[in-house]
């Protein structure tokens, strides 16, 4: 049986967009009890870069998946420093679904993310560093391999390194070979690192 993402069954009422569409009105509707009104408000706030703090605040409270999706998309469309900061904050959430949604959104923001990725890759929390590597997965940016090589050369956390190795297996070139070999030596007691590095080396050599 196919699992279909839950959607609102009821049609979108014109009433939901009847209210004033200026920023003050939209902020008010963002906390409307009706999720359809909240979703429309979130969507229409894409025209207002100053709406980021209201969107971020609602994100903390929002329980409806489609509204949350609309908020994240609007943050992506706004794409300014505040919007990126709001998305980074999601990476620290205890809610795995929110973290993953934020990662997916940030993959589509190469310019904005490239400005902060080095900070994320050096974050004190290894989970955040892993999520940063996850963001690199589909980030269309010419420095992705360089950042991954820096991770496997310097990061002390085995899971951060292994996540980077997994990605290098897909996007790496011969420039990554020596860093991969060195990583294997650095974690010589860890069977998973040996396994994943061997997979990456083989794939890179096969593709080269």
């Amino acid at each position: 049986m196919a699992i279909v993402k839950q959607r609102q069954a009821s049609p979108i009422s014109q009433d939901e967009r009847r209210h004033i569409r200026d920023l003050t009105g939209l902020i008010e509707q963002l906390s409307d009890p009706n999720p359809i009104a909240r979703r429309w408000a979130a969507r229409d706030m894409a025209n207002y870069p100053d709406s980021v703090s209201a969107l971020a605040g609602q994100l903390d409270r929002e329980t409806n998946g489609t509204v949350r999706e609309a908020i994240l998309t609007t943050l992506m469309l706004i794409g300014n420093t505040d919007a990126v900061s709001a998305l980074v904050r999601c990476l620290r959430s205890e809610d795995a679904a929110l973290r993953n949604d934020a990662i997916e959104v940030m993959k589509n923001m190469p310019d904005a993310v490239s400005m902060i990725i080095r900070d994320l890759l050096r974050d004190p929390d290894p989970d955040v560093r892993i999520f940063a590597v996850n963001i690199l997965e589909s980030l269309r940016h010419p420095d992705v391999q360089k950042w991954l090589i820096e991770v496997i050369s310097n990061d002390k956390d085995i899971n951060v390194c292994s996540t980077a190795v997994d990605l290098l297996a897909e996007v790496g070139t011969e420039d990554a070979l020596s860093a991969l070999e060195a990583l294997k030596g650095r974690f010589s007691e860890e069977p998973y690192i040996a396994f994943s590095v061997d997979v990456a080396l083989k794939r890179i050599k096969d593709n080269g």
Binding site: E94, I130, V165, Y192
Partner: protein, 128 residues
């Protein structure tokens, strides 16, 4: 009797390969899914149910907690699940157990440990 069947759910192809190689060497039959949605589809579609799920947490489309919560509501035989994650914080473990996990293991997991936990939950692999 056929081999015990394990479904490995992880968005990393390398992790899936690693778990497959370890578990197949120990005599288990291994299937793979790349996220919670695909795993649920496989769990509901198979005629012979899996004996065990090995689940990652952070996956696109459907994370491991959501997968376990939805799985535990399905009218199918409920079998054990091991969550294997990079995250080691207390709230991660609590969420996993709340969602229906039997064990929470932190990556990277050594081959002997993985086989030991699987064996503890579903018995040895191989033909019976």
């Amino acid at each position: 009797m056929s081999k015990k069947r394990v479904l490995v759910i992880d968005d990393s192809a390398t992790v899936r390969m690693y778990h497959r190689s370890v578990l197949e060497a120990a005599g288990y039959e291994v299937s793979e899914a790349i996220n919670g949605i695909e795993a649920l589809e496989k769990a509901l579609a198979v005629q012979e149910p899996f004996d065990l799920y090995i689940v990652d947490i952070n996956m696109p489309k459907m994370d491991g907690y959501s997968f376990l919560r939805q799985l535990r509501q399905q009218p199918i035989p409920q079998v054990p699940a091991i969550v294997v994650s990079t995250e080691s914080k207390t709230h991660d473990k609590a969420q996993a157990y709340e969602a229906g996990a039997n064990f929470y293991l932190v990556k990277p997991i050594r081959p002997d440990d993985l086989v030991a936990y699987v064996c503890l939950l579903i018995g040895q692999g191989g033909h019976q």
